[in-house]
Assembly symmetry: C2
Homo-oligomer: 886 residues x 2
């Protein structure tokens, strides 16, 4: 080990560098063995050494501790950390000394590994600086011991059939599989060796094949290696479970597996909802001709003279000019929509229930059923903070954790900044509103006829695009802010860190994505005031109104543009483009650095780990989940106004699944496997969105759409029980002479003919006693709207509870299988025990024959036996080995 | 075994008789040993033999199979039933043959027990007929083997401290304990020997003492024996966990323990809610003088002439005569009530959360954490039905379960009968309404002045009492019906049987208890019509109105009478009285039978099991839970109208806890212990009630109380922002001349002076265009009411979710303790393993020295070792025993 200078930008990383393990690969091909070609390479640690001028390599620049390897050291030492992060590290010492210390720490770490029973192999040191790999092999004893400690389930010799889930879901699965088959592209067979090794974690779990059909592409690539390796597979499958993975790090395979399983189920569930959504849309298309209100609206004979839409420059206008929007809005605003929202609320509950079942099924087949939460080690940042605190107060180290007062500033910053960010979002939304109002006003001044007629379209389109851009920019900012805020909070463990980060990021992104939509759905056009008494912002600009077709149409446009734009630009463009760019960039950098410094020896013999190292590091599943959850929100929250949302989501996801898969396989380094029993906090967020969507949909139908006023008219006010006259009923009268001075239309050709103009509201007519007050109809309709909300919400909640209750969380076949397994285990054990007892009896007989005096000794042995019997069952291994040796 | 004739009334019992085990007792006193005074009696089976003329003994007449003992046979045979219920049993054979068969079956059963490794002892057969006991002792091997199979946690030698929960709850506990101490009666030291033995299951779990303070009375009785036995206790506590209880039957201790823990927590939680309830009530008392509406109502100067309350015979009346009720209703109908309902909804969530935590804590300290659901055996009734089906269809025994079509009739009957029962309840409620209407009418005909003036009081009081009686009677009927219906359904296992029974019984009892209350809260007085256009039932009887003080007052009266009456009569009177009566009856019967038939030898030497046998058999916890859950409903559902409900519940429960404890100790036989991880379906019912209560309370406040109209008046209609004029505002005008002919007051002294009478409703005045239609105010107030419901419901639901999310299900100290325990276990194991490895190495060294040629043999041994290593960990016991013998 020649002394090398290591440049480290952060002090804390100094201590952590030695634990920087890149989970590069594991395989059974001959390349992946120690030099004796026998011992398998189970884990590879990599570290850099550069001279003091070497730049920070991207991707390797901020080395994160591999939690697994840290915990290995901890476990092997029985809870004691290998060399605590002593305060001496805090001071910056000369680089050489630093480097020396690093080397010592690294050596200590390696010593600890060896002590724990692992075998390590280092690269021959034939170069002065650069990358160095330490390969680790875990021998049998270590594996079995740790497997025992971690209570990992292992297969018995008894084999039993796993009955696959029959019924509809499987059929659906098959159909789905067939349907998507032609859509599957043939991924070019690039980086084949890499593929081969990566297929392991997937092929290991047999059941996995049945669950994620979309990953077929994986196995196409891996086919060749699978046939190579078919004989070894079964043994390897068994062996794998004993790998030191369980000891060095938690499994990651399950976590990624769960994500793909979840994504698969979600995509599957989108199919029925898309179908129903299309049906609802088609129903709207078909019934458009028989819809009386839109027919009445388009009828030129009904000359409804509407009040001008802006002061001074706008003229009175005829309602029939809004005919097109009215017809279009019927496509989304029809009675079938109500049914669809109920359907979607139940759908969301069903999805969550089904996911619980699938999760149960997976955890059964992946043997995660008994997986207990492992004690997590505090994050280094947390320990650092604790250390700083101790140093500051010079107290005896009595306080072992950060108190409330230590955390207060962090929490306060968090609260303040999150509030500020939400305010920022709101002001962005408000800014866009102001833009819309002013631009619309400016355009209406325009002398050009074409500009004025297209004003609304221009304004709406540009405003939505501005909204979208703001959302995209703020999304990126919020991600960084959320991360920074969570770091300020100094959560104790990696798990809490992740959870809090997710919550914050979700909150910010949720508000960001939905604020403009909420505005359009519930606020736009509600604070307009009334003719003669308009509400003005910024002195002279009237609050904006909804288009004559109703706010639902605008909501629909807003939703579709934001949803599609977000998906196309953010998810796909960013997701494909940016990693590619990053990779290119890194490659260039690496090449420049390495051609300068590395001797040719290295490049001649590119080991697997060298290849893998050039890939992009894995940054976690959070962005993937986040994207999907926000999409889930689009699908459920406003489904009443946009029945096609599930369809768009489905189309996106079909691409998304394969994009993600490709990314994981080809673009990223093999991520650390982390065992996970469930999808964690995402489930809570999903179920929260599901609950929230019920009330949102209730309000969209009741308040935004015309559903309730129509019903009310038909059953309470209509003369003959039909919808004829509905439009007239919803329009109030306004006496033109009551318009304030200066707001009258200036260049109106028929200003003299107009006595009354109409506006959409339920208000008392000018000839009533309480001129322009809300009429009785207004209150009656409002009551009906609110009653509908109550009814809808409670009905849907009841249905959800019912569905939740009817579908058991554990699939019946799985629970039966678990029971059967248990019975078989008992059988197996009883049989074995019976044989053993016979054996004992024969032993006793022989014993008594041999030493007839040994009665006293026997008793002592019996006593020790009963003592031993009380010890925890963990002692099993030791006893059995003793037995074989005696 | 002399042949005795056994009289059996039911064929099915014939087969089951042999499994009839009464869990009489277990103890460590010398009486409870086998005749060799060494082996402990762990379980006692009892069976009767009588001559053919002997009558059926009550209590023993319908012998039910003890599940535990049946499962013993099953487990010991590895899943095979000891002698299937052959079809030959179905035919009635001569009694002697029957008896012979019984004897054979009994002998087979006993043989199976012996085969399973148990040791049995029978009574010396010195009498020809009567009771016979079979005592069972489970030796060490059996215990340890089965403990291993059932994965029962056992204490290691490592001892660690359990840090008790500190903080507020403990303080509360202590205060609570002190508060109730003077209330604890000194239970007379009767049946001392019985007490002594019974206290075991309670003293076994140390933590139990900390949880159920109210059971201190137990230990008072058991003190003497405890000091006798103190030395043995610790050992016994350890030993107990290995008792064959785990094998013969599931634990019951936990189930009863959970019930008392739940009851204790519930009672504790009632304290704060009682306090807040009393505060709210006091607030009402204090503010009564400053309440403007009731003052206005009582003011004699405001002469509101109200429309007559009945046709013809009633006169116009002055509103100030209803002054007293108005004032009284203010006690319950004030703004604090709104706060109280929100508080109670959050309270319910808190309670459920806290219960989850306590449950977690208990399952940790009782070592139930890893308790997996055991496979349950089908109920005999289910197997019987299956057998019948097989015989009927003569099919090959391919179908192993009842299909949907087999169950259809059962389900249909269920559905039909439950519907019928609910209808019955409704008709009972309707009957009482009719009674009230007609009696009120009849009394108003009365010539006596006093009768007429007290009419309302008389009618209300008698009606409520009738309601109460109906509820009590129907409750008993419904219990029987629910049981019968569940039996018709033929559920597969005992657990599903219990769950379905509970659900049915709960549904029926819930409807029964609350139907009249729902009627008063939401329907009474809402279908009266209006003056001149009243709604009539049965031709001539007007629908009843609420008292002038509002329906809330009546709801309050109804609630308090039903709640108190139900608690006093049903829970306490029935619970104490009926068992006592039953016991007396049984004793008399028994004595009569036994003095005739039994020889004196028996009575001379009354064994423990003879004494215990005379106690009442245990019938399950269902009635206890049911009673409490219905009470929980009273406390949460209508708390907005009756803030004192928690107080009454608290008072009842303080008595209830000790009544139940006493019953379990002194009145009942020692119940079978059943292990239970949680309170099962009761939790779901509780949380269901909690959710339901939110919407109910929202409606009570919005619709039943005057809260919203007051707010509306104050902020929208009042001239000066005060409540002055509210009463006038709520009363509509009616033109007396519009009264239908024949309905005018007959003998009115001031009929000529009255032009307009007033009635409580928001309707257009007679001089309006739309005479007597609902006014704009009506719709506005309705909108406000509904908006309040939406707001209240969503706010409370949000708070509940927040509370649910904020309070982790697993208490922090427990989760930390679990983690610590795990770490210690790992440490312990590692240390042990290290030593063993050294031992092995020394063995190998010695081995090699001894036989230097044995290299080949070593390899074989190593192979067998690795094989052994793969076998399930269950083989532990056998290996260790082998080790001791070699």
């Amino acid at each position: 080990f020649a002394p090398h200078c290591v440049f480290l930008s952060q002090i804390i990383n100094n201590y952590l560098e030695r634990t920087q393990g890149e989970a590069v690969d594991k395989a059974s091909s001959s390349v992946m063995h120690f030099r004796d070609s026998k011992r398998k390479v189970d884990y590879v640690l990599a570290y850099h050494y550069r001279n003091r001028l070497a730049r920070h390599l991207p991707g390797a620049g901020s080395p994160k501790p591999t939690r697994g390897s840290a915990s290995l050291a901890l476990v092997s030492n029985g809870g004691e950390r290998p060399g605590s992060p002593g305060p001496e590290v805090i001071e910056l010492c000369p680089l050489d000394a630093l480097e020396e210390e690093k080397r010592l720490q690294r050596e200590e770490y390696e010593r600890n590994l060896v002590e724990a029973g692992l075998e390590i192999e280092k690269d021959p040191e034939n170069k002065s600086q650069g990358l160095s790999f330490v390969r680790i092999h875990a021998p049998w004893q270590v594996l079995s011991r740790e497997a025992e400690i971690l209570k990992i389930k292992m297969p018995t010799k008894k084999v039993y059939e796993i009955t696959e889930e029959g019924g509809i879901l499987k059929k659906l699965n098959e159909i789905w599989c067939k349907l998507t088959k032609p859509l599957q592209p043939q991924v070019p067979q690039q980086e084949n060796t890499n593929m081969k090794s990566l297929s392991y974690p997937f092929s290991r779990e047999k059941i996995y094949l049945f669950n994620i059909k979309d990953k077929d592409t994986f196995f196409d690539n891996a086919t060749r290696s699978r046939i190579l390796l078919y004989q070894e597979w079964a043994r390897y499958g068994v062996f794998y479970k004993f790998q030191p993975i369980d000891l060095i790090r938690k499994y990651f395979g399950e976590k990624i597996g769960l994500y793909f399983a979840w994504l698969g189920l979600y995509t599957e569930f989108l199919i029925p909802s898309s179908v129903v959504g299309i049906t609802v849309f088609l129903y709207g298309c078909i019934t458009i001709e028989s819809d009386i209100p839109s027919k009445e609206m388009c009828d030129q004979r009904n000359a409804f003279t509407m009040c001008p839409l802006c002061d001074k420059f706008c003229d009175y206008w005829n309602l029939s000019s809004a005919c097109a929007t009215a017809r279009a809005s019927h496509l989304f605003d029809n009675p079938a929509t109500v049914f669809f929202s109920i359907f979607m609320a139940v759908w969301a509950t069903m999805f969550l229930e089904q996911w619980k079942r699938l999760q149960m099924r997976l955890s059964y087949s992946w043997d995660l059923a008994g997986l207990e939460e492992e004690e997590e080690h505090p994050r280094p940042e947390y320990e650092m903070k604790l250390l700083q605190k101790k140093l500051k107060h010079k107290n005896i180290t009595d306080e072992e954790k950060l108190t409330w007062s230590d955390r207060m500033p962090g929490y306060a910053t968090n609260f303040g900044l999150i509030l500020f960010m939400i305010m920022l979002t709101f002001s962005a939304v408000f800014g866009v509103i102001v833009y819309r109002i002013t631009t619309a006003a400016a355009l209406s001044f325009s002398t050009k006829e074409t500009t004025r007629s297209n004003a609304r379209v221009t304004v709406t389109a540009t405003a939505v695009i501005i909204n979208l851009v703001v959302i995209l920019i703020l999304d990126e900012i919020y991600e960084a802010v959320a991360k920074w805020l969570t770091e300020i909070e100094v959560p104790k463990t990696e798990k809490t860190f992740e959870e809090r980060l997710i919550l914050k990021a979700f909150l910010l992104k949720f508000v960001n994505s939905y604020a403009p939509i909420f505005y359009v759905a519930f606020f736009k056009g509600r604070f307009v005031g009334r003719p003669g008494h308009y509400v003005y912002v910024f002195d002279g600009y009237r609050m904006e109104e909804c288009a004559p077709g109703g706010c639902l149409m605008e909501l629909c446009i807003q939703l579709s543009i934001i949803m599609l734009g977000k998906q196309l630009i953010q998810n796909n463009l960013f997701e494909i483009g940016i990693p590619k760019l990053k990779k290119l960039f890194r490659k260039l950098k690496d090449e420049r650095t390495e051609t300068k410094e590395t001797d040719t020896n290295q490049s001649k013999d590119p080991q697997q780990w060298d290849l893998d190292y050039s890939l992009e590091p894995f940054t976690g599943l959070t962005p993937e989940y986040m994207e999907m959850i926000i999409q889930f929100g689009f699908v459920t929250l406003f489904v009443a106004s946009f029945p096609l949302a599930p369809l768009f989501a489905l189309l996106n996801n079909i691409i998304e699944v394969r994009l993600d898969a490709k990314k994981f396989v080809a673009e990223l380094r093999r991520p650390d496997t982390v065992r996970a029993k469930d999808i964690g906090i995402w489930y809570n967020i999903l179920s929260g969105i599901g609950k929230f969507s019920v009330i949102i949909n209730a309000f969209v139908i009741a308040v935004t759409s015309d559903f309730i006023p129509r019903l009310m008219y038909q059953y309470a006010y209509s003369q003959n029980g039909t919808m004829h006259g509905f439009i007239n009923h919803t329009l109030s009268y306004f006496n033109v002479s009551h318009l304030k001075a200066g707001t009258q239309p200036e260049n109106s050709p028929f200003a003299h003919d107009v006595l009354f103009c109409r506006f959409k509201d339920y208000r008392e007519p000018p000839w009533s006693q309480n001129q322009y007050e809300f009429s009785k109809q207004y209150w009656a309709v409002l009551s009906a709207r609110l009653a509908f909300v109550i009814l809808f919400q409670n009905l849907v909640m009841f249905l959800s509870v019912l569905v939740d209750w009817m579908i058991p969380d554990i699939p019946k076949d799985i629970s039966e299988q678990i029971k059967r397994e248990k019975v078989m285990l008992v059988d197996f054990f009883l049989k074995e025990e019976h044989e053993k007892r016979k054996l004992i009896e024969s032993f006793i007989a022989r014993d008594q024959q041999k030493h007839k005096i040994g009665t006293k000794g026997d008793r002592i042995r019996a006593a020790s036996f009963s003592q031993v019997n009380r010890s925890p069952r963990g002692s099993f291994t030791s006893f059995s080995s003793q037995h074989t040796e005696v």
